[in-house]
Amino acid sequence: MRFLGKDISTPLTLASGILGISFSSLQRVIRDGAGMVTTKSLSIQPRIGHEGPVIAEFTGGLINSVGLTNPGIAEGLEEVEKFRSGIDGVVIVSVFGANAQEFVQLAKAVNDSSADILELNLSCPNVEDEFKRPFALMPEKITEIVSAVKAVSSIPILAKLSPNANDISAIAKLTQAAGADGLTMINTLGHGMVIDAVAKRPVLRNNFGGISGPCIKPLALKLIHDAYKVVDIPILGTGGVSTGLDAIEMMMAGASAIGVGSAVYDHGLDVFNSIRGEMEEFMDNHGYANYSELIGILEEN
């Protein structure tokens, strides 16, 4: 199948922020069964991110407050070049800037690299102290950033949206209008707090974090389906996928490819092969010959 013009053997994609710092992790995920990999979100300058604990568990999911730890765009793109030798696989480079100007600078660097696709992280809920509300909740900001990046990018652009948006149809439409070639949906849900009752403290050093994992799947499915109904660009569906059935459901809701994040935590890297196997089994049992037959076939009641 194809996604944004690239051939992929499976729609499964490593989501941004999971092991995605080094070329060696990215290569390993491809060998373990993913069709595409997304890098950790890269900023212009290196970022340490938040102090630990940066992850906590609860029934149904994870919260994290990693806070965009990354070695900076220059070093990040070196890893992408190293990735290229010895393996085939589509690389999505995720970037995060403080404003449209930074996003443009980052986009130029990515365009000068061998990256296949550029992902704009407009929706990290873990840096609000620093950067205020996620751009993905502010229509004007989305338009400004996406159209500025579009003007300088010759590789396809994915805009990563937030589940906290209250009117996803409007946002999906204006993101497409601004020039996005695809949508990544969804980032983590802001904000969750896990409390240590003995210590009377939040578990995370940064007190709260973004919610991911199985429990955000129903939210992701609804948002993806709403967006699918109003845009013509492909959606990289992400949020709570850990089984083949999850992935099938998400494609039925409208996703053209599937991001996998927290499931790596729950099940290890084998999860790519197991999801792949389960998808194939379902498709065999129910008469689907190609992944593309699944996309958006959900019928509302």
Binding site: G20, S22, Q27, K40, E57, P71, G72, D196
Partner: protein, 264 residues
């Protein structure tokens, strides 16, 4: 769940030397030698530490005062609350033949724990080499004396035992005796040297490695080693010889707090 926590008061603090203390907690930790925990100081941060010892109702770690986090820990008293998750990682694969342990500096806690378990396993012969800068930096001298059939000491300044490194002693010991397995835990340069010696003698070995760890559970990527993408927090920190052979980063490079790679 992988991140289940125990929030516990410090039960006891033992001064090992000027910069090292052993912290004991009453709690249940079902761990094997080589595994580690993540320890949180509230409002401060969270850091990985090897497990020194475990019994039915308590466990302990020996910790060096080296920077902001450990400074803060050293300012805490018995009764103060911290939070611990784990145990994490792969432990030493225990053998029961003739065993040589080579340790350096404050990386010896896992070997101390291993020695105890090997004796419980009824190991045939257990020889330890304990190296440090000087006498006062040596850890568990008596413990190794009691737990091992032979226990060698090496100090850089010769203040106790052989003057030189534990790897120097290792070479000597291997000239005279036969071993089936080597376990190595020390600063990475020393570990690298010890590995070279073990290789020369065609002995199987396992090495305890350290990398910057943020999540401890294989998701953040900060501890990953090139070029295989080995996830040290989950698949290590104890690494066997075949795996180590492929890790070009061993002894050469590591990643820091931002994930940027620098030479060791």
């Amino acid at each position: 769940m992988k991140c289940d926590r125990q929030t516990l008061p410090i039960a006891a603090i033992r001064e090992e030397n000027a910069s090292l203390r052993t912290f004991t907690f009453h709690g249940n930790l079902s761990a094997s030698p080589g595994q580690f925990i993540m320890l949180t100081i509230f409002s401060e941060g969270e850091k990985p530490f090897s497990i020194l010892d475990v019994d039915e109702k308590s466990f302990s770690m020996t910790i060096k005062n080296i920077g902001p986090f450990t400074n803060k820990l050293f300012s805490m008293d018995v009764g103060d609350l911290v939070s611990i998750r784990g145990p994490y990682g792969r432990s030493f694969k225990r053998q029961t033949g003739n065993i040589l342990m080579v340790g350096g500096g404050f990386a010896t806690p896992p070997l101390r724990f291993l020695a105890k378990k090997l004796r419980e396993d009824d190991v045939k012969k257990l020889v330890n080499i304990n190296g440090a800068h000087s006498e006062e930096d040596l850890l568990y001298v008596e413990d190794f004396e009691i737990l091992c059939h032979q226990s060698h000491i090496a100090t850089d300044n010769g203040s106790l035992g052989y003057m030189g490194t534990s790897v120097d002693v290792m070479e000597q010991v291997l000239q005279n005796e036969k071993f089936d397995q080597v376990y190595i835990s020390g600063p990475e340069k020393m570990a690298k040297a010890a590995v070279a010696v073990a290789k020369k003698h065609q002995l199987p070995y396992e090495v305890n490695l350290e990398r910057y760890m943020k999540c401890g559970v294989g998701i953040c990527g900060s501890c990953v080693m090139d070029p295989t993408g080995f996830i040290l927090c989950m698949e290590g920190p104890i690494v066997d010889d075949q795996t180590l052979d492929k890790l070009e980063d061993f002894g050469t490079a590591h990643r820091g707090k931002t994930g940027a790679k620098t030479a060791l």
